[in-house]
């Protein structure tokens, strides 16, 4: 097995294990968020082995950095006590989670074999910032500009939601 394949399976397994550690950790929400960081970084390594270099960098910059920080803030803001997460209160969420997971797994098993493309030779600069940039800023100009309005809506939404409490 080549070195990228070894890293792919190693960090793929790390991503699954840390994701399970996050979901199964019902006692300590902060520790669960830290497991999420491990998942994000493992996924970044998986992206690197798949030659998606820009996505790997963004995975660490945005997800392991910003998103997890927001998760930690939410943990602090909600200030959940231990009994809020007591196992007796989780029956409904756990049941819904199992149903949802089974549904998603079923859909995957049905769709993935059909959707798998035949293996093609990828261009040498595939996944690099230059290749992604050329596609994004030349071929998808309008979606790129529309993204700014999406971010604008999110900015206004965040302020409107919180400012009511501030004033």
């Amino acid at each position: 097995m080549s070195a990228p394949a070894v890293f792919f399976y190693l960090f793929g397994a790390a991503a699954v294990v840390s994701a399970l550690a996050m979901v199964l950790n019902v006692r300590n929400t902060v520790a669960a968020a830290m497991s999420l960081v491990v998942t994000m970084i493992s996924l970044a390594v998986v992206y690197v082995t798949l030659e998606a270099h820009l996505v790997a960098a963004l995975q660490i910059l945005v997800y392991a950095g910003a998103i997890v920080v927001v998760f930690l803030f939410v943990v602090m803001l909600l200030n959940l006590r231990r009994d809020t997460f007591a196992p007796s209160r989780q029956l409904l969420t756990k049941g819904a989670g199992v149903v949802l997971a089974l549904g998603v797994a079923g859909a995957f098993l049905q769709l993935v074999p059909q959707a798998l493309p035949t293996v093609q030779e990828i261009p040498p600069d595939f996944g690099s910032y230059a290749a992604v940039g050329r596609t994004l800023y030349r071929d998808f100009v309008l979606p790129f500009e529309v993204t700014s309005f999406l971010l604008l809506a999110a900015i206004v939404g965040a302020v409107v939601l919180a400012k009511r409490r501030l004033d």
Partner: protein
Amino acid sequence: MLAEYTGAVVILAVALVLASALLGIHLLVGPRRSFAEKDEPFECGERPIVSPHQRFSVKFYIVAMLFILFDVEAVFMYPWGALFTELGWFGFVEMLTFVAVLAGGLAYVWMKGALEW
């Protein structure tokens, strides 16, 4: 291309060895004596009066959300900056439009006073 990641792999290995060595040596060598005072939360030698689990101000939420949104804005600038000369004036105007819309967002946030603590 993957050879460029050798440095990252070395750092990862060093970090793994260092972290497990520090924890491992501590487990092997350090004495483990537990007593009541040791289990109390330490607060500069003072007896803690209130529980540290307090609700945080919603201002933290605004800072975090705005950080994440402008972080995503910055993300779009990395590939753009790398292709700056290749994209030329078209790319410049394109990014200017993008930033102008979000500058409107910044102005809104500023006017609303959400940047003040």
